[in-house]
């Protein structure tokens, strides 16, 4: 089993009309054994920037701690929050630093940039950025997620419809992957508010 599949994960982010949504599954496993069903994969960097980390749980936690540290320093120096594009470049640089001994993580970054324009991107474990205008996926269920998102996504969805779409895409994809699932965690972010919801899907 690959080290990326050790803990199991599923992550997806989608762009809507002046909003974005980012969702993850909740399973923490050790290969085929489930340890917990409330594992946090999506972290808030600031009110308009969220980071999802799929892959090895330990490296996800280490990477998150390093990135929060860097962002806090940035906030102290610049007296403002980081733009999502800047943050994505930071993540990419930190991952490439470990080019020959990488973090076994695939991050998904989602945020509202200048003029509250939604920004999403993903990258591989050594920091190769992949910007997208519609959706990005990561994790052990990524192949199913690609299919589900491609068929369910339409551009310029309002936040209610975006929530429904991303939830259905996530739940149907993790049902085809034994290493991810046990519910879902969805954040829908508009310029004025952040809504966090827990989904109950097939608990198996």
């Amino acid at each position: 089993m690959s080290i990326f599949e050790y803990n199991g994960s599923a992550l997806v982010a989608m762009v809507g009309k002046n909003c974005f949504a980012i969702a993850s599954d909740r399973r923490l496993g050790v290969q085929l054994q489930t340890i917990a069903t409330d594992f946090q994969r999506i972290f808030k960097i600031h009110d308009k920037l969220f980071l999802g980390l799929s892959g090895l749980g330990s490296d996800a936690q280490t990477l998150y701690q390093r990135l929060v540290f860097r962002h806090k320093l940035y906030q102290l120096r610049e007296e403002r929050d980081m733009k999502p594009e800047t943050f994505a470049s930071l993540v990419s640089a930190i991952l490439y630093e470990k080019r020959f001994g990488p973090y076994f993580c695939q991050p998904v970054i989602a945020g509202l940039g200048d003029d509250d324009k939604p920004f999403i991107c993903t990258m591989d474990s050594i920091g190769a950025k992949e910007l997208a205008k519609d959706f990005v996926v990561a994790g052990t269920a990524s192949e199913s997620l690609y299919g589900a998102c491609e068929s369910m996504f339409k551009p310029d969805m309002e936040h209610e419809e975006l929530f429904e779409t991303i939830s259905q895409a996530l739940l149907s994809s993790v049902d085809r992957d034994c290493l991810s699932g046990w519910g879902g965690h969805v954040y829908v972010v508009t310029p004025s508010e952040v809504t966090e919801r827990i989904l109950k899907g097939r608990m198996d």
Partner: protein
């Protein structure tokens, strides 16, 4: 075949571990204490490579004590768990500690807590945790019978059921188990479940 498991009850937390020290087919001793008392209100049950286990648990215990001496207040369970995770993560890509840890602690403000720490430094706060081959049996038993806010009697009974399951279903089951408990009165040994005297 090391078995460590733990659970959180109402205002206490419990850690159970087997007490066998094994080298290949030989049982060196069957009263090896694998649950270290970190400080007055923390228990650290560890399983894995024997040398790493002893070294790492002692290292953590001394550092927890050092923090207390330097700062005058003890570490919280969460802080101790994160310290352990940090040490494991730093060592992971150099000279990894092959130790899995169940950390139980009690604070007056936050009550009892239990942390699952993998040897790859995955940290998660849980209500029940188990490591080793015994985890297949004890986790399943706990999934069935555990409920939040159990009394000490109920938790001990559940621990006994887990031990019985391990004894009857694990091919090379450990002979003796020790149960340690941590609550507002501190961390202490609760009882043993023996099949052999040592």
């Amino acid at each position: 075949m090391e078995c460590v498991f733990g659970m959180v009850g109402k205002r206490f937390a419990l850690v159970v571990a087997d007490t066998s020290a094994v080298n290949s087919i030989l049982v060196h001793k069957s009263n090896e204490d694998k649950i270290m008392v970190l400080d007055s209100h923390k228990l650290m049950g560890a399983s894995g490579e024997a040398g790493d286990r002893a070294q790492f648990t002692e290292y953590v215990q001394k550092n927890v004590a050092l923090y207390h001496f330097r700062n005058g207040i003890p570490l919280t369970t969460k802080a101790a768990a994160n310290f352990m995770r940090g040490e494991l993560a730093t060592a992971l890509r150099k000279n990894p500690y092959m130790v899995n840890i169940v950390l139980a602690g009690y604070e007056k403000e936050t009550g009892p807590s239990l942390y699952f720490i993998d040897y790859i430094a995955t940290l998660h706060k849980v209500e029940k945790a188990a490591f080793g081959y015994g985890s297949y049996f004890s986790l399943a038993m706990m999934d069935r019978h555990y409920h939040p806010d159990m009394t000490v009697e109920e938790a001990i009974k559940l621990a006994e059921q887990c031990i019985e399951e391990i004894r009857s279903r694990l091919v090379v089951a450990p002979q003796n188990f020790v149960i340690k408990i941590v609550d507002k009165d501190g961390a202490r040994e609760h009882s043993w479940r023996r099949t052999t005297k040592d």
